[in-house]
């Protein structure tokens, strides 16, 4: 187990290193003149040179990269170009909103997806199965931003118009400030993120569960006289979950994209919206910081998924 862990952590670190290189390369291959933008229109060449020197932009790319890596390892991701705020501070401020959004959505989508999949698989070709798989395919075909817009239109606007202002139009209230409002503001964003992703899991769980329920050991379990509930949930679901967990690991990268879109639609000041804003301002340190932070989060989450995988399915448990 320890060797497996060390190997995975090592590989994760290499992947992360490659990602930092790619991000750096993209930004420095492309011409973009931050110093000029910052200095304003009437700046003299001297001013621009001074700004470049202060931001370290006059150094060769590899030197900038090494400096960045060295600082990053010491918990310093640089400062944003415009207000000299540490990037780590910007990330820490935006993080609670994003984590609230992502974790809540993940819980909803896993519960919804897996439960629907099980119901579908236990009664294949029933009305419930057809309805659930139909819904799943519909949401699967739906872009996240469109679902967000539709939820805003029907559940915020039309409902409020009808005199039931249950849901707000967007924004984020910190959990520590007001838990009830936090919850109320997050319901629509959660649904937006969760419904699209849950669809994949309904389909996946259904297929995997159908396979498992055809296995001999399920017949044995039934023959032993176990209740159907126990057969399905204890014996069946446990091994049917393996591909679901794998998919969960793969989807974490996608989740980042979903978060960006959802935060934009519902104007939640999380990491995704901060990144989009930073990109509009060409604020390199912030963009690089957030991309690398997100990649790290995805890699660590993948590592955890691999561990969960080993716990769920003894056959893949590494030696």
């Amino acid at each position: 187990m320890a060797r497996f862990l060390i190997r995975r952590v090592f590989l994760g670190a290499i992947v992360l290193l490659l990602i930092t290189m790619m991000v750096f390369a993209i930004f420095f291959v492309a011409p973009n003149d931050v110093a000029r933008t910052l200095a304003g229109r009437q700046a003299t060449p001297e001013t621009i040179a001074l700004i470049q020197q202060r931001l370290g932009l006059d150094q060769p790319v590899w030197k900038q990269y090494l400096t960045f890596l060295w600082n990053a390892l010491h918990g310093n991701l640089g400062y944003d170009y415009y207000h000299q705020v540490p990037v780590t501070t910007i990330i820490t401020q935006a993080l609670p909103a994003t984590v609230s959004l992502a974790v809540g959505a993940a819980v909803i989508w896993m519960l919804l997806g897996v439960l629907n999949g099980v119901v579908s698989a236990v009664h294949p070709r029933s009305v419930a199965d057809r309805a659930l798989t139909g819904f799943a395919l519909f949401f699967y075909s739906m872009p996240t931003f469109l679902l967000g817009l539709l939820l805003l239109f029907f559940l915020y606007f039309q409902l409020s118009l009808a005199g039931f202002p249950v849901f707000p139009a967007g924004g984020y209230i910190p959990l520590t400030e007001n838990p009830v409002e936090w919850f109320r503001h997050l319901i629509l964003p959660w649904l937006t993120l969760a419904l699209v992703l849950a669809a994949t899991y309904t389909r996946l769980t259904r297929g995997s569960m159908l396979d498992v329920l055809g296995e001999d050991y399920i017949r044995t379990a039934r023959a032993k006289g176990l209740t159907e509930r126990r057969v399905v949930y204890r014996h069946g679901l446990r091994s049917a979950l393996t591909p679901v967990v794998t998919q969960f690991g793969i989807d974490l990268g996608q989740l980042v994209g979903g978060v960006v879109v959802t935060e934009t639609v519902f104007s939640i000041d999380g990491l995704g919206k901060t990144a989009v804003d930073a990109i509009n301002q060409q604020d390199l340190p912030v963009i690089i910081g957030i991309v690398i932070f997100a990649a790290t989060a995805v890699i660590i989450a993948n590592l955890l998924v691999d561990l969960a995988y080993a716990v769920l399915d003894p056959r893949v448990r590494p030696h």
């Binding site: 992947v15 519909f138 239109f153 994209g257 990649a295």
Partner: protein, 322 residues
């Protein structure tokens, strides 16, 4: 180039010149030899949902190709702003009417005509980016699976990197530097979607390269390239085709998302995602501004997904229905 010919030949008639290799692995076959492609096609033909979706897709393609017809029918140009007839006195979009069948947008343009022209971008990006993605994925997967060893290790790590990269953030960053355009959208999508294809192809190649007919080809002195593209590739095409059909709607959604974030094809070119982006500020006063472009998008992706499911069931009848 070779595999392209082999694939279409096989798909159409099941009379592939290389089918002799297939036959060595499946000796029990009638003399007419209905190949797996023909069998799959026959199953697909009986799948009413899949054929219905296919018809819908053809109609969408026709609408895209003959988009100018909508201009003729309505008499409205695609970028023409009808400021007097197409906007309310307050300057708001007009609801659907006899004049504007699906209403107008915030600049008084005909939504129906723009949806038809927008289909061009969605389908173009969907098909082209998917083809590039699949081509890269096949090359990488073939190389990794066939050569193994250090090639495999390096390529597999590369696949890991690409898969764990936050794609959308990267695409946003890329576009912010190069400026939005059709080519950049296609490149950004292809550059980050091939990894999944590579993974599928690699897995298949790993098992196929150990088969007897590959050994036979090698002992006949066939080159690595010939074995990879002539002997191995046709045998991994079935899962690739299934994945391709399901990848097109995904790519269409990504393109729409990029356009929605203002990072796709720049205005005034109509795109479905771009129209929905314009619609955000007006959703409280103009439901048609969201509903119609949104419906166009969902109908298209849904049709491709249903067709993809049908294609998967046709190649692997046991996969989903029992």
């Amino acid at each position: 180039m070779r595999w392209g010919r082999a694939r279409t030949g096989e798909a159409r008639e099941g009379l592939d010149p290389h089918s002799s290799e297939l036959e060595t692995e499946q000796p029990v076959r009638s003399i007419e030899g209905r190949g797996p492609w023909l069998l799959a096609w026959e199953r697909l033909r009986r799948d009413r949902v899949a054929i219905g979706s296919f018809v819908v897709i053809v109609l969408i393609f026709l609408a895209a190709i003959f988009a100018p017809v909508f201009t003729l029918l309505t008499g409205h140009g695609v970028d023409t702003q009808y400021r007097t007839t197409g906007l309310t006195p307050d300057g708001l979009p007009m609801p659907p009417s006899a004049e504007f069948w699906l209403g107008t947008d915030d600049l008084g343009r005909d939504i129906l005509v723009r949806i038809a022209y927008g289909a061009r971008i969605s389908l173009l990006v969907g098909v082209v980016a998917t083809l590039i993605t699949v081509a890269i994925g096949i090359l990488v997967g073939l190389a990794a699976g066939y050569f193994g060893g250090i090639v495999d290790t390096v390529l597999a790590r590369l696949v890991d990197v690409v898969l764990s990269f936050p794609f959308l953030l990267f695409a946003i960053a890329l576009v912010s530097i190069t400026g939005p355009s059709l080519a950049v959208a296609i490149i950004a999508i292809s550059a980050f979607s091939w990894a999944a294809v590579a993974r599928i192809v690699r897995g298949q190649v790993l098992s196929i390269r150990e088969r007897e007919f590959v050994e036979a080809a090698r002992s006949l002195g066939a080159s690595d390239w010939r074995i990879m593209f002539v002997d191995v590739l046709p045998n991994v095409m079935a899962p690739v085709i299934v994945y391709t059909t399901l990848l097109i709607p995904t790519v269409i959604v990504i393109e729409a998302t990029l356009s929605f974030l203002g990072l796709g094809v720049p205005p005034p070119t109509p795109t479905w995602g771009g129209m929905l982006n314009d619609a955000i500020s007006y959703y409280q006063v103009a439901w048609w501004f969201i509903v119609f472009p949104g419906a166009a998008l969902v109908i298209t992706t849904l049709a491709f997904n249903l067709l993809g499911d049908g294609v998967r069931d046709a190649f692997d009848p046991g996969s989903d229905r029992r």
